[in-house]
């Protein structure tokens, strides 16, 4: 997965110590890392802390990497997931319980198509309810399944998911198939129970 055309050059430059190149990568990837971490923690403060630490860890490690061979997205997501795991170990657990969160914080990086979907009056309530159901369904799945589903939704290839999670390709394929099935079962049950 590459976020922009000149990403390869940015990665090479960042590995050679270019701060502007690293800054460009932060601008590209911070929203993605932030939304994935929040999807897994449902805690805005923790998400911000982990997001910041992930990028700083990446910055500290970049000079040791070969920019021409580095698969930046899987590498960065792996750092973020490791930060999250360390935090979970430190806290023993972070409860993945969805909670109602006030809407309204602004961010320029909002996806256009989704914005359109949410802003249409007819869709708004339906979209909010759907998001909550998705969060609840994810909260009941194993972390490894959630990770696969989110990376797949972000457009990662199976190979990139395998790189990120340190799994084999066939393990990713099986996990994703199971995760889709379980997610569907949970989502349907929650929807039928009228959980909102």
């Amino acid at each position: 997965m590459k976020a922009v055309e000149n990403e390869s050059q940015l990665i090479i430059d960042a590995c050679h110590g270019s701060v502007p190149a690293f800054e460009a990568l932060v601008v590209l990837y911070e929203p993605r890392i932030r939304r994935m971490l929040y999807s897994m923690t449902q805690d805005a403060q923790l998400t911000q802390d982990l997001c910041q630490e992930s990028f700083l860890a990446a910055y500290r490690a970049l000079h040791r990497m070969n920019g021409e061979e580095l698969h930046f997205a899987p590498w960065l997501y792996r750092i973020a997931l490791n930060q999250l795991r360390s935090e979970w170990r430190r806290r023993k657990h972070v409860t993945l319980v969805p909670f109602p969160t006030p809407y309204g914080s602004s961010d320029d990086a909002f996806d256009g198509a989704s914005e359109e979907y949410f802003m249409a009056d007819d869709h708004f309530e339906e979209a909010v309810a759907e998001c909550e159901l998705v969060r609840q369904a994810l909260s009941q799945l194993p972390t490894s399944s959630v990770t696969c589903l989110l990376l797949d939704a972000e457009g990662f290839t199976y190979k990139e998911i395998a790189e990120t999670t340190h799994d084999s390709l066939s393990a990713v394929r099986s996990r994703l198939a199971r995760a889709r099935h379980s997610f569907q079962r949970l989502y349907t049950r929650l929807d039928q129970e009228g959980c909102l």
Binding site: E30, S39, C131, G155
Partner: protein, 110 residues
Amino acid sequence: MKHDSTQNLANCSFSRQCIHFLDELDTFYFLPHKGPVISLEQPANFDDSFLLEQLRAHIPTCSICTATLTHARRLSVKQRSMLRRMLAENERMVPSTSERILERVRLKPR
């Protein structure tokens, strides 16, 4: 999202594999003209490649696997859409940390 169950579908010994290889099957054989659902590399594993070829030959002749694949395809497209909407909404719910990161990087160059 409406639930369309696969429970009514009869079983074929290949159906499970059809679901597992859904993305590869669609990307390489069944939906290439529409562009890949997601970007995939050809499987490096010989067994996987062999199985994919078997499935490609089998599916057009099997109504059960065809229905299974259609169902699984519809489901994965819906799920990805829902997850992407949730991710976009989650991005909006947490204030950006970019500036904080950049400030710290500028303060402490490597």
